[in-house]
């Protein structure tokens, strides 16, 4: 069953026509990788799903219900968590306050689900260490951990994560990969935009490749990983450079 489906979605930003009819399905309990070159429309797709940019045509449905045209807070309340490329960390707030804010059912830190918090601290020990520190003082990798932690502080039906590995050191990327594997084990549904093909290969169950505002390929990740010719054609991957 698909948690999320996009049918012929188009998005305009001002005078620019960015998405030209995106068709995409995100199966429940799987990690779907959204790949493509810079400017292919991956971030716009995520922002359109979240209602941050309005779809000008087409249909976005979540758990069978149309969500296009609904305000962003309603889409989030329906069960979608979003980690933007910029991470969206509130730098003047502490790590704790960032987490409390993301937990819609908690008014203060003492009301957070302690078992879930321990699980998050297990994934990202740095967050426990800097619990009361301003988030703006964290390193880039720690901020990314916090951004992901916010998305999973309460159970969500779907996580939209935009290029989490961007600009991070390999050791931090490995840490994130471990976290996403842990989420996979728990059957969390994730739509993950990524440029790092190694990370995509390690995590993805299914894959969609975008180019020029359209999905030009979709299928199983294992098939794409095994077909170097397809990779070369869809992603322009030179394996020596990317792997």
């Amino acid at each position: 069953m698909n948690v999320l489906e996009l049918e012929a979605v188009q998005t305009h930003i001002g005078a620019y026509h960015i998405l030209h009819g995106v068709d995409l399905a995100v199966p429940e309990g799987e990690v779907t990788m959204l790949l493509g070159r810079n400017g292919a429309g991956k971030t716009t797709t995520l922002r359109t799903i979240m209602g941050l940019w309005a779809a000008s045509a087409g249909r976005v449905s979540f758990k069978g219900q149309p969500i296009q045209g609904r305000p962003t807070p309603e889409i989030a309340q329906a069960g979608i968590a979003y980690v933007p490329e910029s991470m969206g960390i509130f730098g003047d707030l502490t790590v704790q306050e960032n987490i409390v804010l993301a937990a819609r059912n908690a008014r203060r830190a003492s009301e957070l689900d302690s078992a879930r918090l321990d699980w998050i601290f297990g994934l990202f020990p740095a967050l426990k260490k800097f619990w009361l520190a301003p988030a703006g003082k964290l390193s880039g990798g720690q901020k990314q951990m916090l951004a992901v932690a916010r998305a999973i502080v309460e159970p969500r039906a779907l996580l939209l994560i935009d290029e989490p590995s961007k600009g991070l050191a390999p050791s931090i990327i490995n840490n994130l990969v471990s976290c996403f594997r842990e989420l996979k084990k728990q059957q969390t549904t994730i739509l993950l935009v990524e440029q790092n093909f190694m990370m995509a290969k390690a995590l993805g169950d299914s894959v969609a490749v975008m180019d020029n505002g359209r999905v030009v390929h979709s299928g199983r990740m294992a098939e794409l990983a095994a077909d170097e010719g397809l990779q070369q054609r869809l992603l322009g991957l030179s394996l020596g450079a990317h792997q």
């Binding site: 962003t72 807070p73 989030a76 969206g88 509130f90 003047d92 409390v100 804010l101 003082k137």
Partner: protein
């Protein structure tokens, strides 16, 4: 790694300004009188400006019509206190305070109500359009001033202090006006309440987060527009409260009172860092102290002292004393 060190330098600047003024003023008693007067003025300005800085921080709304809430608050106070003449004239401090607090509550209610209508009718259609915001909110203030003239007349109206609040507390050579002590207490209570709300409640957390990145707050599932209306109304009510305090400070009100204070509050929120409550607090105190010290030391310079202060602060910190991250 050491994280989270509080930035004390703006507070050190505040204390430094006070200490610098001591040898310049000369007599410690005069210095103390001026300092208390400056703090009182600063705290009144803070009460007025605190809402405006949050309104800008949350929705990037430049409300040049904030002055109308100040003026409305002050004029409502003239009516309420005029109607409670016996309480105002009574030598009983309790009755005097009762009259002042009744005037403040009425002013806050009226200013808050007008703020709600102002947001709905004037501000909402121009979200995200700064030039239109400036023009239409200034237009809103002009209309507000004219409405005040229709209701209360165009002339200056006296707003005398109640009997028990007139005069000064005298300690040796130092005289501290009683009303200024009350203004300091009310200002500190408002500051404390704001800090508590912003730092200890989920609504406050949302406001602080919204000031930094409203899109992300919405992506977490919160309706920022609703929050903004609440902040706008609260800010208007606080401006109404500040209008009463300012009117009593001047002991008279004119329909232009809001426009006169508007310049001062914009200086304060720019000095403090747009969207920052702590910055607004420190900026307001700096402005209040600077106005009183220069008014005593060099009255001709006093007219330009706050502009000079703003220029100096912005040369030091172009984003203000406590810039909001992500802005």
């Amino acid at each position: 790694m050491k994280l989270g060190a509080f930035d004390w330098r703006p507070l050190i600047l505040l204390v430094g300004l006070m200490l610098l003024a001591l040898p310049l003023v000369g007599a410690p008693s005069t210095w103390l009188t001026l300092t208390v007067a400056g703090l009182a003025m600063g705290l009144i300005v803070f009460v007025i400006a605190s809402g405006l800085t949050l309104v800008f921080g949350l929705m990037d709304v430049l409300n040049f019509g904030h002055g109308v809430f100040i003026a409305m608050g002050a004029f409502v106070a003239t009516s309420v206190m005029g109607g409670m003449g016996a309480w105002v004239a009574s030598p009983s401090l309790l009755l005097n305070l009762g009259a002042i607090f009744a005037a403040m509550l009425a002013a806050m209610a009226v200013a808050g109500g007008i703020g709600w209508a102002f947001e709905r009718v004037i501000v909402r259609p121009v979200y995200g359009q700064h030039l239109k915001q400036i023009l239409i909110t200034m237009g809103g203030m002009i209309v507000g001033e004219e409405v005040i003239k229709v209701i209360w007349g165009p002339l200056q109206i006296p707003l005398p202090l109640p009997e028990a609040l007139r005069g000064s507390f005298v300690f040796g050579d130092t005289a501290i006006e009683k009303y200024r002590v009350l203004a300091v207490i009310i200002g500190l209570l408002v500051f404390g309440a704001l800090l508590w709300t912003l730092n200890r409640t989920k609504v406050g957390l949302l406001v602080r987060a919204g000031v930094q990145d409203r899109e992300m707050v919405e992506s977490l599932g919160y309706r920022i527009r609703r929050l903004f209306v609440g902040v706008f109304v609260t800010g208007s009510a606080l401006a109404g409260l500040g209008g009463v305090m300012w009117g009593l400070y001047q002991q008279s009100v004119t329909p232009q009172i809001g426009a006169q204070v508007n310049v001062l509050i914009f200086i304060v929120i720019i000095i403090g860092g747009l969207g920052s409550t702590l910055g607004c607090f420190v900026g307001a105190l700096l402005v209040g102290l600077m106005a009183n010290y220069t008014g005593f030391l060099a009255p001709k310079v006093a007219l330009f002292s706050n502009i000079g202060l703003m220029v100096a602060v912005l040369l030091w910190r172009p984003q203000g004393l406590y810039p909001v991250t992500n802005r």
